[in-house]
């Protein structure tokens, strides 16, 4: 295949996307701090966290979708590369999920919980997001318990398909249905009536940028893992 290196990744496409993502995110970060936004009581400048905290969850959702797609393909074809891709995407789903939780906790500490010294107060949306991250953490616990490669790939893929089913409920439906401090019960956890429309100008590019960043980091992991696999195969006892 043209432009495809030994690990089966289109490196030319990777490089183009990587460079675009670097430039794109630089502009997003600049815009996030420089664009003037209305100052709202309690939120004040922390409203700008919309550009950073919320895309973590968009990116996690994208990562779980990519992971589930490759798990599905693994069950269809049994190709080991699918397992590598599913695992790498799931790992990044956990990374972005943890970043989303930690950034959300810091944001809440100085807005909802200002003056109370609370970092975590079991807001149901926070709790369910934490559960979501744990569901993906269990994917790796499950993997570490199976020694046989083919068996591990198949069992992990089946688990992964169950895990992805929980994503729409815990990250999409619940934040829109449940009353809590976290905005969203009126229909949209990212934008509420106090969110100035101008913020969408940075917010959507930020989501695209972070998903692009996910794709870059994910592809790096896939390339590394595929080279590893080739080396292992080359040295495997006949």
């Amino acid at each position: 295949m043209a432009n495809t290196n030994t690990s089966g990744v289109n490196v030319r496409r990777y490089r183009i996307i990587r460079n675009v993502v670097i430039g794109w995110m630089t502009v997003v970060v600049l815009g996030a701090f420089l664009l003037d936004i209305p100052r709202i009581n309690i939120l004040e400048h922390t409203a700008r966290n919309l550009y950073f905290h919320v895309p973590m969850w968009f990116t996690m959702m994208a990562a779980t979708l990519v992971s589930a797609y490759h798990s599905l393909r693994l069950l269809q074809t049994g190709a080991p590369v699918r397992d590598v891709r599913a695992k790498s995407a799931a790992l990044l789903a956990v990374v972005f999920g943890v970043l989303g939780l930690v950034t959300g906790s810091v944001w809440a500490r100085f807005t909802w919980y200002q003056g109370t010294d609370l970092w975590w107060n079991f807001d149901p949306k926070q709790s369910m997001a934490a559960v979501q991250v744990l569901i993906y953490g269990a994917y790796f616990v499950l993997r570490s318990g199976i020694d046989d490669d083919r068996k591990r790939a198949r069992i992990a893929a089946v688990y992964n398909l169950f895990a992805v089913v929980t994503v729409p409920f815990l990250l999409y439906v619940l934040p829109r249905q449940m009353e809590s401090l976290h905005p969203g019960a009126e229909g949209n956890p990212a934008f509420s009536d106090i969110t100035h429309p101008i913020m969408r100008l940075i917010f959507y590019p930020a989501c695209i940028g972070f998903i692009g960043l996910f794709w870059v980091l994910y592809t790096q992991r896939v390339r590394t893992a595929l080279v590893q696999r080739r080396l292992d195969d080359a040295h495997a006892p006949l």
């Binding site: 004040e44 922390t46 930690v102 950034t103 590394t224 080396l231």
Partner: protein, 91 residues
């Protein structure tokens, strides 16, 4: 239970008008102890430093991930140089 009802700050009279989980906000007497060290810093400049903290957390998190990928590459390089396979990567 994920949603303990005994909140750290007890609900007060206003609680009925609020949602079940926003006891802190619903409390009309928001504890207004003088902002101490960390809070004094984070609330300065209209809370801009909260955004800085969030951006730094994401930056550090992603950098740690990149360094771990780097570590794997280094292992692979060593394995290629010596011709001796490393232990197979963990699942």
């Amino acid at each position: 239970m994920f949603f303990p009802t005994d909140q750290a700050v007890p609900d007060t009279a206003q609680a009925a008008a609020s949602t079940p989980y926003d006891s802190v906000w619903a409390n009309p007497e928001v504890p207004t102890k003088a902002a101490d060290g960390l809070e004094a810093v984070m609330l300065a400049q209209d809370k801009l430093y909260v955004v800085l903290a969030v951006v730094l957390i994401i930056w550090i998190g992603l950098i740690v991930f990149v360094l771990r990928t780097d570590q794997r590459l280094r292992k692979l390089e060593r394995s290629v140089e010596t011709g001796i396979p490393e232990e197979p990567a963990e699942a």
